[in-house]
Symmetry: C2
Subunit: 210 residues, 2 copies
């Protein structure tokens, strides 16, 4: 299995939303949830360390297909270490299946845990930081509340900008219901509540109420 320092090299050029700190946070969650769920920890750790290896390092594939590109990076890295083909495939399945809207759904326990840990890292106080950082890098406003129309339908008013609060309502608020393992769902409940409360407070502060 790649060491932490070996894995770090894949993330040197990463943006701050998918950097090696993200990998290390996901690893700490996997090392907590994996044993509780009875996972093969060698497969799970390798999958965590390499799951964003290509898209994050600007491998040319872009975010949309980074799971496939990262799987190929992992295939080469693990073959070079002499892993047997079936265990390489087990890692590659985890990596290919870790996206929220990916075409391959997590089938193995280890794939489900990687998916869950990766998603936990967009909730809670970390989720606040990542949503805000993404908006700042994209030139979006940081504050400002979604319109009543957006809240009811997911459709914006003319000229309504996208903000982190929109991202929460559109995507992040649904994640807790998409997780596979009981261990992750338990952590997600509290992280979801924190994230929801944050955006409600942000809107009230922006209105000068608090």
């Amino acid at each position: 299995m790649p060491t932490l320092e070996q894995a770090r090299q894949f993330y040197q050029a990463a943006d701050p939303v998918h950097d090696f700190d993200h990998i290390q946070r996901v690893l700490r969650l996997a090392e907590r949830i994996g044993p509780a769920e009875g996972a093969d920890m060698e497969v799970l750790r390798a999958a965590v360390l390499l799951h964003d290896a290509a898209g994050a390092a600007g491998g040319g594939s872009g975010r949309a297909t980074h799971q496939a590109a990262s799987a190929e990076v992992a295939r080469a890295a693990l073959a070079a270490e002499g892993w047997p083909a079936d265990r390489i495939e087990a890692v590659l399945h985890c990596i290919r299946a870790h996206r929220f809207r990916g075409s391959e759904a997590p089938a193995s326990l280890e794939a489900k845990i990687l998916f869950d840990c990766d998603k936990l890292d967009v909730l809670g106080a970390i989720g606040v930081a990542r949503a805000v950082a993404y908006a700042a890098l994209a030139g979006q406003p940081l504050t400002g509340a979604p319109s009543e129309k957006f809240k009811a339908t997911g459709e914006k008013e003319p000229g309504e900008p996208h903000t982190p609060y929109h991202e929460f309502l559109f995507k992040l608020s649904r994640i807790k219901d998409r997780l596979h393992t009981a261990s992750a769902r338990a952590l997600a409940a509290e992280r979801h509540r924190y994230l929801a409360d944050y955006f409600e407070r942000l809107a009230r502060e922006s209105a000068g109420e608090l």
Copy 2:
């Protein structure tokens, strides 16, 4: 006094941390705190609308001296509206004295209120968003806790990166004790607590504890 739409033109090129949304949030606070403290609202509103007019619009002076450059923008804008010289000077004093480390301290009630409202906008949930956005734009890591050495002395370990949590300990945590008006201190107490709790939670989530 400039209208909101007239003031907005000064902030077209602003970064997301000092954009027109910031101006509007400060204005909402000033319209709450100003009457409670008995301020001259015409002077206060003009000062709020123009306080970041130059540095934010990339006027060439940089952030370090944007208060002086913004005061000169305000002088021209208010003279063009036919304001009397003494009331222009009252606005300019507010603008020159609004920086945390500026050389001119707030002497008038209106200057103290602008200072306080500007500082309230770096605390609370908004403070979280601004600190994170600043870090993302500067290429700093979003998470990661300060070392024990930094917590005790404000000095970093060799290679220790600056993060939003460092910025909180180094600067943001002290702001509540620097405010001038009772109205602002009352709002700051809760916003400070929220910001402090955020960074504590962020560190615990990053460690995989929550």
